[in-house]
């Protein structure tokens, strides 16, 4: 079988052949789109790994937290944890300690500060989590246009080729148009996974954010009750 050879024939759909016969502008577009596709998939794979493990660890952390008898002891164990939910918990505990350190405790002010501190911790963690999601958004929105630009350029070049050869037969036009259309194909190749992944990961991050907010609210309620108990004493 002669199959294991690189196809550089223009009559096949070999990407190598289509790339090699293209104009340099179209080549640049193709290279850029390939890099965009690689970056897209790198981000996608990174998100898949990160979000899966993050969800599992958040579940475990919540279970451990609600089982814990002593919050201070639990905080000593988990203070170095880098999980988003652990950061929210650490921020709440830190603010609690700062607010109740003095003799007089303003309950309303302490509650507000606790809510603000944990809310900002949630926002910060979501920001960190959704880093590089903008890459997916950008690629999904722009890659088709970039590919279209390459195609338009390649077809313009084909038509100037017709004008130069003064020959309108399809054999003169067809290879140029095929290689030009390959740019659009590459753009769609990069954009489609990017758009799908962007929607899916946005949804996942929204759920994580809602989960962190629920945890922050519950912890805030716990601290608020504790505040009343401690101040009454």
């Amino acid at each position: 079988m002669t199959g294991f050879m690189l196809n550089t024939d223009a009559t096949t759909l070999s990407p190598i052949a289509l790339f090699l016969q293209a104009d340099w502008v179209v080549k640049t577009v193709m290279i850029g789109l390939m890099l965009a596709s690689v970056a897209t998939w790198a981000v996608i794979l990174g998100f898949l790994f990160k979000l899966g493990s993050t969800r599992r660890q958040i579940t475990r952390f919540e279970r451990d937290f609600w089982k814990a008898e002593d919050i201070d002891a639990f905080h000593r164990v988990e203070s170095e944890n880098t999980l988003p939910i652990a950061r929210v918990f650490t921020a709440g505990v830190a603010e609690w300690r700062r607010s109740t350190a003095g003799g007089h405790v303003d309950r309303e002010g302490t509650r507000e500060r606790l809510a603000t501190a944990m809310g900002s911790a949630v926002a910060s963690e979501i920001d960190t989590l959704s880093d590089r999601l903008n890459i997916l958004a950008t690629v999904g929105a722009v890659a088709p246009f970039v590919g279209l630009f390459g195609t338009v350029w390649g077809i313009m070049r084909s038509f100037t080729g017709i004008a130069a050869a003064q020959n309108t037969s399809l054999a003169v036009v067809a290879p140029g148009i095929a290689e030009a259309l390959f740019a659009t194909a590459l753009g769609l190749f990069a954009a489609i996974p990017a758009v799908i992944a962007y929607n899916r990961f946005s949804h996942s991050i929204n759920r994580i954010e809602a989960r962190l907010n629920r945890f922050a609210d519950a912890f805030h309620a716990t601290l608020s009750r504790q505040l009343e108990v401690e101040v009454r004493r």
Binding site: M1, T2, V38, L45, G46, F47, Q166, T168, S169
Partner: protein, 301 residues
């Protein structure tokens, strides 16, 4: 960049390389079409010959007068018998062996008579079969005796071989033409209207593939008729680029813009399918020969 991001990037790069390598390998593309049979060149020439094409014999073959069927070896030829015996004896020694020679030699009138007479009265010769055999045997005996003696003037005649071919058959080989109808054209190559048409159709047949390849530039272009002037070498190749005579037919206001395109298509047609094969070499350099040949060209459709 964390370790997970690095892993994702590595996997992405590897995956892209793998996908494009697979797409670039031949086995993912469609299997090549089965090899087509070598096209056989079929000549659908109606008539590309000249009026006098082959080195034909200037005259038709002379007729052959020799009879073909003969009696068995021992039987003497009847013609000889007729000659030896002046009287119109029945020349058929063995009527049952050989039928009367119907394809009688025409230019030998002498033996024709007895042959012609014979079928007229077959009843009379009903008795002579035995009698006829006897003179034949007698004649043969006489001949052998004469040969043995060597004095008989008839001994100069060759010994009967049993064939009906005797000296007289040479008389059939005359120089006179037979009465078959032959062309009265003079031998040699002349460029007449038929030869011109034949050469034209031969050229047209050979350039037809190239003509079919031309793309009609626009509506009405097929109405334009261009005159193409070919200058040819003796081997059929183009001695110069074909030129288009400035006069065209069928040009109107609608298709005037396509004249140049038609001219280019005409030139491309003849340059693309040159050299031309099978043109009669005798007519190359004669007056109005195909050294310079003017054809009309119009696009199909």
């Amino acid at each position: 960049m964390t370790q997970r991001d690095g892993l994702g990037l590595g996997l992405a790069v590897v995956g892209h390389v793998a996908v494009f390598a697979l797409l670039s390998l031949a086995w993912t593309s469609a299997p090549p079409p089965p090899p087509q049979n070598k096209p056989i060149e079929v000549s659908l020439a109606d008539d590309v010959a000249l009026d006098q094409h082959a080195p034909a014999a200037p005259e038709p073959p002379a007729q052959s007068a020799a009879p073909e069927a003969g009696p068995p070896d021992d039987a003497p030829p009847p013609a000889k018998v007729a000659k030896v015996t002046p009287e119109p004896a029945p020349p058929k020694p063995q009527p049952e062996a050989a039928p009367p020679p119907k394809p009688a030699p025409k230019p030998v009138p002498a033996p024709k008579k007895p042959v012609a007479e014979k079928p007229d009265k077959p009843v009379k010769t009903k008795t002579p079969p035995a009698k006829a055999a006897a003179p034949a045997a007698k004649t043969e005996a006489k001949a052998t005796v004469a040969k043995a003696a060597g004095t008989n003037p008839k001994s100069t005649k060759p010994r009967p071989t049993g064939s009906l071919l005797d000296d007289d058959f040479r008389k059939g080989l005359t120089q006179a033409p037979s009465h078959a109808k032959v062309s009265q054209a003079a031998p040699g190559a002349t460029m007449d209207a038929k030869a011109t048409a034949d050469i034209g159709s031969a050229i047209q047949r050979q350039v037809q593939p190239c003509a079919n390849r031309q793309v009609i530039p626009g509506p009405g272009a097929a109405k334009i008729v261009a005159y193409v002037r070919l200058q040819l070498n003796r081997d059929g190749s183009l001695a110069a680029r074909p030129t288009i005579l400035p006069s065209h037919r069928g040009v109107d206001d609608d298709n005037r813009i396509y004249v140049d395109a038609v001219d280019r298509a005409a030139i491309a047609t003849f340059t693309g399918c040159a050299p031309l094969r099978g043109l009669p070499p005798e007519l190359y350099d004669v007056p109005r020969g195909w050294k310079v040949f003017i054809l009309t060209y119009h696009m199909p459709g």
